[in-house]
Point group: C2
Chain length 205, copies 2
DNA sequence: TCGTAATGTAAGTGACACTAACATATGTTA
DNA sequence: TAACATATGTTAGTGTCACTTACATTACGA
């Protein structure tokens, strides 16, 4: 038996904006079902086209997912930079803000977040993703440097930034993987972030 | 065309130890191809049985993977406890050792490690996995408490243990996801672990 | 020794990723 | 405006997969 392949009735034969809409459908499905349970077929159903249509726009499933991951990287990056603004330069508050936003993104869009990092950089084309991640890391490094009153990033700054990143990254994954249900997760995330920041970068002043 | 379903010639009709061998095949494949690209069929080929055989031993694919994940949890836990022994009670060295082993496991068996944590605790049966993780966390908490000269775990210890755990967990994932190729990853992992330990738990004394 | 449960196979179902051949629209240029 | 190349869609496949059903073989306890 054939599955209903339902290309929905459409005004014109051509869709108009299929590529964009497929990406959006992919994003939604990744969020709803998780990156593993995403299927191209379902995205097609949602976009109202045949299952062969995506292959005029993407080489394969992976390329669709990569688009979503890249968009997520950019979104998270933008959010981080945005939350930086209200706080004075060189203050711990900025470090805390970066961490808070990082985690907020992870818990708000767990599917996309997992997608962003689940790639082992296998393919060559993942270079773009890698660079986007690099960019975010640079922001953290700069902020750490500023906390030390520097305008250039030293090796020490890099190391500290790396600590902070690892911490929020780990915290994010533990959260979305549901490993913190009980009393494991400290009640007050804000306090925890401040605590860590205090332990790694110097007090403002 | 039918795929070669090759149940390999076997002495007896019955396999003898299929369940165990399927789990081992699953573990290998998860490591070789990653948890996502694991297929039951391939495990069957490797074990030399028909593709229907596993379903006499496991409810579904997921249950096979869960076995592998649980075994990994136990393996990692054992390694952590083992590396604890050489170091004096209540010393930072013990904290460092725990972190080192955690990360070593992740980088040595990235497939299994990812499997262990990629589950969102969706199903009820995941309770076992959760408990195993809990157990490991308890060890860390106890060690932190000991560093403070306590024999009971306080809320402060829990919070600190959580920090340490998040950090090594994040570091592990960043490593296996290949996000640290460049100069991001501090050259000396050992120094980094000591650094973190120093910032979170008090010096031995 | 006989019957039952445990454990294997063959064959089939529907979902999926992806392809080839063909259909329809769009835009460019003569 | 006509003609053609190209972009973008569909239909109808192929092979793989997870999982099921019905049946075959074996192990083992009463």
């Amino acid at each position: 038996m054939k599955t209903d392949n339902i290309p929905q009735k459409r005004e014109s034969y051509h869709h108009g904006d299929l590529r964009t809409q497929l990406i959006e459908a992919t994003r939604q499905l990744v969020e709803e079902k998780g990156p593993d349970n995403f299927s191209v077929s379902e995205a097609c159903r949602r976009a109202g086209v045949s299952t062969a249509a995506p292959y005029k726009h993407f080489k394969h499933k992976t390329e669709m997912l990569r688009e979503v991951a890249a968009a997520g990287m950019i979104r998270q990056s933008e959010q981080m930079v945005a939350e930086l603004a209200p706080h004075p330069e060189g203050s711990q508050a900025r470090i805390v803000a970066l961490g808070r936003v990082y985690i907020r993104f992870a818990t708000t869009e767990p599917g996309v977040f997992r997608l962003m990092f689940t790639w082992s950089g296998e393919t060559d084309e993942d270079g773009k993703l890698y660079d986007l991640g690099d960019q975010k890391f640079s922001v953290v490094q700069m902020e750490v440097a500023k906390c030390h009153g520097r305008s250039e990033v030293t090796e020490e700054d890099r190391q500290k930034a790396f600590m902070l990143w690892s911490f929020v990254h780990g915290l994010s994954f533990l959260s979305i993987d549901g490993k913190l249900s009980d009393g494991k997760m400290p009640a007050d995330l804000e306090k925890l972030l401040e605590d860590i920041a205090r332990r790694v970068v110097p007090e403002a002043g």
